[in-house]
């Protein structure tokens, strides 16, 4: 374990290099370029807003901001994990030519997603100004919440990156998980709209807790409940530890499967 960490430290410069080149490659030959990363969540926001405020008449205060915040948090998770999923397979040429720690592509995917969420948060700020919404002082707590979410993303990303090399099925299974997760997370509804028995199960989902906590600190100016914090920290640490163990088991042989 120490050797993995030492190697990581030596090649840390490449983490950001990978993250930046990933963004460049992603938006190559496109006119809007990196702006696409903003257009996509905004379009989703538009659709969800029309459907749920006019057709279903949800009455959630500050609904556009509520929606956008949820979409941004969810996108952070979706982007980070799906970038990581293909991070090793996309670099097969490099990996079979030069040795470097196998964790780097998966971790740099988390950095790529972090760069993207910063842009999205700026858009959220613009929305707040446009709707005349002044956030409470607890908004500052969004930073540790997103940091905790980054830990979750990295914990899921590392095993996904190596598993996808060995079993191509990982990619298809993960896309189902991400789709289902979007509906099972309180992004366009409030968690207490769910029946109790559903709430009892879903409260173990780290993303449910992350999004709920984000709503609390940004919209209501209340501290997240101690339960939320415990559930989130507990489930995320468990996922990260298991994820790291899976990664460690597969990482040595991963090149030979390419």
């Amino acid at each position: 374990m120490t050797t993995i960490r030492e190697e990581m430290w030596k090649t840390k410069g490449i983490l950001f290099n990978f993250a930046i080149t990933d963004l460049k490659i992603r938006y190559r030959n496109s006119i809007l370029g990196v702006l696409w990363s903003l257009v996509e969540p905004l379009l989703l926001l538009g659709v969800l807003f029309v459907v749920f405020s006019t057709m279903f008449r949800f009455e959630i205060p500050n609904f556009p901001i509520y929606l956008l915040l949820g979409i941004i948090c969810w996108n952070f998770f979706k982007n980070g994990t799906t970038f990581a999923l293909n991070s090793l397979t996309n670099r097969s040429a490099l990996i079979t030519q030069i040795y470097f720690p196998r964790a780097i592509p998966g971790l740099s995917a988390g950095i790529t997603a972090s760069i993207m969420i910063i842009f999205e948060l700026v858009v959220l700020g613009i929305f707040m100004i446009a709707f005349g919404f002044s956030p409470p002082s607890t908004v500052i707590l969004l930073i540790p919440i997103l940091a905790l979410q980054l830990l979750l993303i990295l914990g899921v990303s590392l095993p996904l990156s190596v598993l996808n090399v060995k079993y191509k099925d990982t990619e298809f299974i993960w896309s189902v998980v991400v789709h289902a997760g979007f509906f099972l997370t309180p992004i366009f509804y409030q968690f207490d709209m769910m029946p109790d028995y559903v709430q009892n199960v879903l409260q173990y989902s780290p993303m449910v807790q992350i999004v709920t906590m984000a709503h609390h600190v940004v919209l209501y100016g209340t501290l997240p409940s101690i339960n939320s914090v415990l559930y989130a920290v507990g489930s995320i640490s468990a996922i990260t530890v298991i994820g790291y163990l899976i990664f460690r088991k597969f990482q040595a042989k991963v090149v030979e499967e390419m």
Binding site: T11, N17, R28, L94, I95, T96, Q97, I98, E256
Partner: protein, 248 residues
């Protein structure tokens, strides 16, 4: 110990080969239910030992699939061996036939940065040398061109230029002259000889016996993963040719 730049002892490596030769849907379905294993193991390297001294050009010859590239990959840590040990003194750069793992969608300059950082160099050091690298590769006009628009020879030139100008202690060359033109080949040979003079070790893999005979100090013939012969270039090359004629 320290007189050797690379020291390989009793190195073995096995690969699992998966065969997916199923002729019908029925067959593939039944084989799945029977859990029949469609694989066998391939002994890519079998108890290989050799040493390379500083200032030596060490050639490796053998048939396709004879374990040459696997051996270079283990020396450069891309693969890990099953048993045995590999000792390397100093920085090492593997230049395999396909370049340095360049990304087709990135420009020459970006790729040089990416590869050199991965090889353990600092950004400032690369910045100082990047002009020289492009000049050596004779690619001044193409510095900002994406690698996907490069010819195989241009990619090889860029890879070779990058690896010699970051000045490693050990250079692994796998079929690097297969795609370069004559003028560039000459330049490469001159560079390799100057490396040798400065006491650096070079491991050189080729199917072309002329450079092997002309440049190498010692040559190892890998015979289906085993050491067939280690000795003077003439000795190993004739052992290899004899083996080939027997096979026929």
């Amino acid at each position: 110990m320290s007189e050797y730049a690379v020291s390989v002892k009793h190195l073995s490596k096995k690969f699992t080969l998966y065969h997916e030769k199923r002729d019908s849907i029925y067959e593939s379905a039944t084989s799945w239910f029977q859990k029949k294993r469609h694989n066998e193991t391939l002994q890519a390297l079998d108890d290989v030992s050799f040493n390379v001294k500083h200032g030596e050009i060490f050639g490796i010859i053998g048939r396709n699939g004879g374990g040459k590239t696997t051996l270079l990959r283990i020396i450069s840590k891309i693969y890990s061996g099953d048993s045995g040990s590999v000792d390397v003194k100093g920085t090492i750069i593997p230049v395999l036939a396909l370049g340095l793992g360049f990304h087709p969608e990135l420009t020459a300059i970006t790729n040089i940065y990416q590869s050199s950082i991965l090889l353990g160099f600092k950004k400032e050091e690369i910045e100082k040398r990047i002009g020289d690298i492009i000049e050596y590769a004779e690619l001044e006009k193409f510095a900002d061109t994406k690698i996907k628009n490069f010819s195989a020879g241009m990619q090889m030139r860029l890879a070779f230029a990058t690896s010699v100008l970051v000045d490693p202690d050990i250079l692994l060359l796998d079929e690097v002259f297969a795609v370069g033109d004559v003028a560039f080949q000459k330049k490469c040979f001159d560079t390799i000889m100057s490396f040798k003079k400065r006491g650096k070790a070079i491991i050189f893999v080729s199917h072309d016996m002329t450079p092997i005979k002309n440049f190498c100090d010692r040559v190892m013939f890998l015979k289906d993963g085993k050491v067939g012969n280690i000795g003077s270039p003439e000795e190993s090359v004739s052992a290899y040719i004899e083996y080939l004629s027997k096979k026929k």
